[in-house]
């Protein structure tokens, strides 16, 4: 008789816990045998720094049956149309490029980078091939009030208040998705004979048994790391950032513009994030403590914020770059910080939560006998994803020409660059990043993202090689013209980001 997987127990009530609970409960709503229980500690507060998302979040919310209007109103959420990287190339005032959320114009018709480099190389790549850069530069929203919820004119993700988001998801999961919410501190994890977790004992609610345990306990990694002893794979030899200092900055006026993109500004020993929510901005300096002192870092952040900094409180958060060697062991799978963390340069934290929750919900093993197969697949999939994210984050650093601190030259040291990234860089001397470089079903970043960062950082292909195959000038020129027209059209049509936010709060989006 096989042991059916019916009772899912999630330990931890941050965004990771509630997204996982919501996705599993929504997917299996029609099956009364499957129960989802979330145990949240009444004494541990959530980290709640993760304020940037990917466009995948729209699908995640939709799958849980959430109204976009409700979500945006209750989580102080705003639109994010990509990231602006300032002062990453040489640190001069006009040094910036964009990683927008849309493919280059005609991406599937023609390989634009060789044409761009040959004929339009003086013009920023992201601006030449994508209309979203101008939309962001003008502070415009990615849609209109008449656009249906979750639909877009320009592709978008969100910036959100992580604390409010966890509360919002909790309410939705308990009220609409039948998730059982238990307040309790886990004081022991109890094993079965085969090494599985049989139950957890809470101080307040006693023993809680389950068939599958999801570890969402944050950096503590209580179940997977501490109890099952899965080791941590340190990535600090590749990504040096190990500390964050964060501050919430109020807007100057109630009506101050809201940037519709994340702003990431390179600093001497790391970079500063700047994320605009409805009522405040979230800022923070992530830095390498080997390359600067905390006092210096705080001063850098204060200088960035300006005069408003004098009344603000600053919070220090230690960061360990890396991930667990396995994410799913026995009947326990880790989601969120318990699985690992990397600097928030490309907002990879929440997207990994979403991808993990999706895979668990959709491939929930029917019985214990097949769980190890699912676990093996899960581990292969996510090890691949973490490696690709590490490569992609490192790509942002290796092309910088900055020399104001050894932070930047150390980042360019070949010994710190993964071999997989070195190989790609070799290939890209002669051609642009293409889908053939990223052939797994489990890719996180598409080839287009690599193009935006590579050419944004000023990388050039070997011009002797790229001149030969230029046989599609007409199609390439057409795409660049179409992009110029798309820019004009978008600028004429889209409202200011702040203006649309007000309308969302006053009227909301229709569902169609």
């Amino acid at each position: 008789m096989s042991h059916a997987i019916q009772n899912i127990v999630i330990v931890g009530g941050g965004t990771a816990g509630w997204i996982t609970a919501g996705r599993i409960a929504a997917k299996h709503k029609a099956n009364p045998d499957i129960t989802v229980t979330l145990i949240e500690s009444p004494s541990i507060s959530i980290i709640g720094v993760g304020e940037g998302t990917w466009p995948t979040m729209r699908n995640t919310l939709m799958k849980m049956g959430i109204s976009e209007t409700d979500f945006m109103r209750e989580c102080d959420a705003t639109f994010k149309q990509g990231a602006k990287f300032a002062k990453w190339v040489d640190g001069t005032p006009n040094d910036f490029y964009y990683h927008p959320l849309m493919l280059p114009q005609g991406f599937n018709k023609v390989d634009l980078p060789p044409y761009w480099q040959t004929e339009f190389g003086h013009h920023s790549f992201s601006d030449a091939v994508c209309f979203q850069e101008q939309v962001c530069e003008q502070g415009l929203a990615p849609k209109l009030i008449t656009t249906a919820e979750y639909a877009s004119v320009a592709n978008y993700a969100y910036h959100l208040n992580a604390g409010k988001f966890a509360e919002f998801l909790k309410k939705h999961c308990v009220k609409n998705l039948n998730v059982t919410h238990i307040l309790g501190d886990v004081i022991s994890v109890n094993s079965a004979d085969n090494g599985d977790i049989k139950s957890v004992t809470t101080q307040q609610q006693g023993e809680i048994a389950g068939d599958l345990f999801v570890d969402c306990t944050g950096f503590a990694s209580l179940l997977l790391g501490q109890h099952l002893q899965v080791p941590f794979v340190d990535k600090s030899n590749v990504l040096f950032i190990d500390t964050a200092i964060a501050a919430q900055v109020p807007y100057e006026h109630e009506d101050s513009p809201i940037a519709s993109h994340t702003i990431s500004t390179g600093q001497s020993a790391g970079w500063i994030w700047d994320i605009g929510l409805v009522h405040r901005r979230g800022t923070g300096y992530v830095y390498s403590s080997k390359h600067t002192s905390h006092d210096q870092a705080e001063q850098v952040l204060r200088n960035y914020i300006g005069t408003a900094a004098k009344d603000l409180s600053f919070r220090k958060i230690p960061i360990s770059s890396g991930h667990r060697k396995l994410f799913w062991k026995n009947n326990c799978v880790a989601v969120g910080l318990s699985a690992g963390f990397l600097e928030p340069l490309e907002a990879s934290a929440l997207v990994l939560v979403e991808l993990s929750a999706e895979m668990i919900a959709e491939q929930l093993p029917a019985c214990r006998e097949v769980m190890d197969i699912t676990a093996k697949r899960f581990n292969e999939t996510f090890l691949y994803r973490w490696d690709r994210i590490v490569d992609f984050l490192k790509l942002h650093y290796i092309l910088s020409k900055r020399s104001d601190n050894t932070f930047w030259s150390d980042n360019r040291n070949p010994d710190t660059i993964p071999d997989s990234l070195k190989e790609l860089m070799q290939l890209w001397r002669y051609r642009s990043p293409s889908n053939c470089d990223f052939t797994s079903n489990n890719e996180v970043f598409p080839a287009a993202s690599y193009q935006y960062v590579l050419y944004g950082m000023g990388f050039k292909m070997d011009s002797a090689f790229i001149k030969q195959p230029l046989t599609e000038q007409r199609i390439a020129a057409e795409q660049l013209t179409q992009n110029a027209n798309a820019i004009k059209k978008a600028l004429a049509m889209l409202p200011k980001n702040r203006e649309l936010m007000k309308k969302i709060h006053e009227y909301g989006f229709a569902t169609v």
Partner: protein, 244 residues
């Protein structure tokens, strides 16, 4: 620019309204907002659908006259070829404005820059209507306009409740329509929403009973039937392109 001022017997004693100009002013409209109480009359000729208010994103009911902005296929040489004109057109150049005394009270206003306004002593040959008689009383014409404004005021509120009910039942859907005209031109109808008939058929008995009790079934089916007039619009467009 419109210039809205409260109607005043002394100030407006001498003016007359040219009703032909009022109707001709609508020649640039491809749709107007309509209210539930006029659905049956509208449905004789016009498709009735929903569209979103550009400023608020909220749905309104509209009668359709054309496919593109400023295309009115019912107006030819400044004359309406229609059996019924929507209230929203006939009320021009009058509006209801909030009274200074109270937000619940309304006063009749006039758009003093509207082209349909003529002075009494002008030797206009066209049909014009006085709004006040010699004694300073409202003329039957003005009384009729007031009735239209009142019907619109009440109608907008009840139509909003109707739309809200339909939206909550997920009965609205974007119209998917690509039309190729006789001259080979094609257009995609965008921004128009209709009743989702499949969803309507799948409503529960309780939901249907709720719609029945609110008297919403008649306007729902009127809207569904009226959408067939899209083909009448295509025919008008083809004839217009052919120069008939």
């Amino acid at each position: 620019m419109s210039n809205l001022i409260a109607l005043n017997q002394q100030a407006h004693q001498a003016i007359r309204i040219n009703t032909q100009t009022v109707e001709a002013q609508a020649s640039q409209l491809n749709m107007v907002p309509v209210v539930l109480s006029e659905f049956l009359k509208l449905a004789v000729q016009f498709p009735i659908g929903f569209t979103k208010n550009k400023d608020t994103g909220r749905f309104v009911c509209v009668a359709l006259f054309g496919f593109q902005e400023s295309e009115n296929l019912f107006v030819k040489n400044q004359h309406w070829d229609a059996l019924y004109l929507p209230l929203q057109i006939r009320r021009q150049p009058f509006f209801l404005g909030n009274s200074e005394q109270s937000d619940d009270q309304f006063v009749v206003c006039i758009d003093s820059s509207h082209k349909s306004i003529e002075q009494k002593n002008s030797d206009a040959v066209s049909e014009t209507e006085a709004i006040f008689d010699r004694e300073g009383n409202a003329t039957p014409y003005l009384e009729n306009v007031k009735a239209i404004l009142a019907e619109l005021l009440n109608g907008e509120a009840t139509t909003q409740v109707f739309i809200k009910t339909l939206a909550e039942l997920k009965l609205l859907q974007p119209m998917q329509l690509e039309i190729t005209f006789a001259n080979g031109e094609s257009t995609r109808v965008e921004g128009i929403y209709t009743i989702n008939e499949v969803r309507l058929q799948n409503l529960s008995n309780d939901e249907i009973a709720g719609l029945h009790q609110q008297n919403y079934l008649a306007p729902i089916y009127t809207m569904i039937a009226s959408i067939g007039h899209i083909y009448g619009l295509v025919d008008r467009k083809n004839k217009r392109s052919a120069g008939e």
